[in-house]
Symmetry: C2
Subunit: 359 residues, 2 copies
């Protein structure tokens, strides 16, 4: 059985194409359902993008904060905020939800679009294909390039129990607007870490056991673009990084990430470390598993003068350490992809603990 | 303005995934609209694929003949055949149209799906965005890999007046089933010519003036896969050729073909030469315009022992020659992509005639 992969319905790519967003949304505004909800990363609150949002009468603009990784509780709160606004206005659903920002902001907008048409809390839907009703129209405008949240069928959320996505065909965006000019302003080291998220993702999927030719083609292209961007600094680096993220996201159709992501999920859950930086922190200790990838990653770090945070786990309690190991081990497909069917004979709790202690 | 590109809704890729077609179609069969129409290239009439078609009660199987390139008249005839069948059965529209074969068969199935919900003749819709009503659900199963008809928003048709596609967002397939096992049986030189259609397409778009980073990424990957398939004969050549076709099709979003396609359209219109072979015939005379591409193309020809047809235009009347030049020159965007804004000062009728006379 091969996954029948749901793709984003419409895509526009080009320098300055953000200016077309208003016209694109106009096609979705109907006389009886015209309100758009914009969820925008609050780093743009005092930036020029703010004045370019195609807001119309009754539209709702919410600045979202993603200093912490998206929580199901935050999704529920945002949905409440949208519902209150809509009750005051038309009493109906909004015509669409537009997410503008990085992976976290896009994930929040996917989750809000889904939860407007599905009852209960976002935490009820963490898992695979639990969503029953199609979401309202939802579109994304990435302003950071990472692992292709813009094309994925998941929205990664941290719930009370677990960090796990809402995986569903209904999660996939109806529209993405890929304007390389919008990622130009991303500060280092954030740009570097989200880029490495993409690069590491490629290393893990290309060296994994799950790969087929579809995902290989996308993974190889994504990796080549990352190498160009971070080792050669081409003039059109923003365009290339945006395409790297897109291709990396597409490559996940028939591949899986590996050891770095599994360990990084543990760090995120226990220490609250952001996904992008978490992957970089972990990857630097994985030369036994991904020797060539780690070597190249270090060249990129040196070139971009990145100092990784160290000694993050020094003060963890035993209970915290064991929780971290638990979270990492739960992600069985990642281990199997990296190490094959016999992964349980290769990786032990002690080996994982050892790796975590170095970080 | 950048094109807002409509993408195929769902895609499955993998060796043997054709076996999933029945389940995929089941999701589209509703109690009140359950009939599927299969348009299958008649080269499969006596092949094993015939017995693997997931036909159910009342489904209609039509063997299509694509010895000639698809004509609008043929589309109208097929639509009539489907309508007659449906009147005898449910009196309603079919649940879907499934095209199985190469680019021509896929194009026929796109056109039939569109014309079941739009009045008049297919010839009325040759052009851009003339289609008013969405098509019925339509899916494609390629059994040849060429230029990515499986992902394009056009269906190339020859009408009474012109060879021109029905270009519309509604043309795009709802589902594609990419099973590399199905292209294994394609005979040489047909496999070579359809592969070269993809390769030449990449040369023209990558060296064109219209390119942006989206199309460049796809074009480069498609070309690298073609080079691997036709210069190194890897074990997984079928998988790679299928991905080359897919990537080549995606690359057209923000690029355009060039001189070879313009001239080949003329050959097709006047001599009825098939698209794939037509491109190879023309490309061999374009070393002034695409020196590196033509060099590599000749290496591929040699390796695969291809003898191109020659002296095709020796017996043409002056009127036929002028018609051929007319057809080629009508395709202005192709010339502009290849030669820039000033293309009219670079290419003349006499130069085109000279090229045609060599073929």
């Amino acid at each position: 059985m091969f996954r029948n992969f749901k793709m984003v319905s419409k895509m526009v790519f080009g320098r300055g194409c953000f200016a077309q967003l208003g016209d694109i949304l106009k096609e979705q505004r109907r006389a009886d359902r015209s309100v758009m909800v914009f969820l925008v990363d609050d780093v743009h609150k005092n930036k020029p993008l703010k004045d370019r949002l195609p807001l119309e009468k009754d539209d709702l603009l919410i600045w979202v904060n993603v200093d912490d990784e998206p929580k199901t509780k935050y999704v529920d709160q945002l949905v409440g905020q949208v519902r209150t606004h809509m009750e005051e206005k038309t009493g109906d659903l909004p015509a669409g939800v537009i997410g503008i920002g990085g992976g976290s902001s896009m994930d929040l907008s996917k989750a809000v679009a889904l939860m407007l048409t599905n009852p209960g809390s976002a935490a009820d839907y963490q898992g695979w294909d639990l969503i029953q009703n199609p979401a309202v129209y939802h579109a994304a405008v990435p302003t950071l390039s990472g692992t292709g949240a813009e094309v994925s069928r998941t929205t990664v959320l941290t719930g009370p129990e677990k960090k796990l996505g809402i995986n569903s065909d209904h999660t996939v965006f109806d529209q993405i607007v890929l304007d390389p000019e919008l990622i130009a302003g991303a500060p280092n080291p954030q740009r570097f870490y989200t880029g490495m998220d993409c690069y590491i993702h490629c290393v893990e999927s290309l060296e994994g056991t799950y790969l087929n030719s579809f995902s290989q083609a996308y993974g190889e292209k994504s990796m080549a673009l990352c190498q160009d961007v971070f080792l050669a600094d081409p003039e059109d680096a923003d365009d290339k990084l945006m395409m790297a993220s897109y291709c990396g996201g597409m490559s996940i159709a028939y591949s899986q990430v590996g050891i770095c992501h599994a360990l990084s999920y543990g760090l995120a859950f226990v220490l609250g470390l952001h996904h992008g930086i978490g992957n970089s922190v972990v990857f630097d200790y994985l030369e036994d598993y991904y020797p060539q990838g780690v070597r190249e990653f270090r060249q990129m770090m040196e070139r971009h003068r990145i100092d990784l945070p160290r000694n993050l786990t020094a003060n963890l309690s035993d209970a915290q350490m064991e929780k971290m190991v638990d979270v990492a081990l739960v992600l069985e497909p990642l281990w199997e992809n990296a190490l094959g069917n016999d992964w349980k004979t290769i990786i032990t709790r002690e080996k994982i603990r050892e790796l975590y202690r170095k970080m």
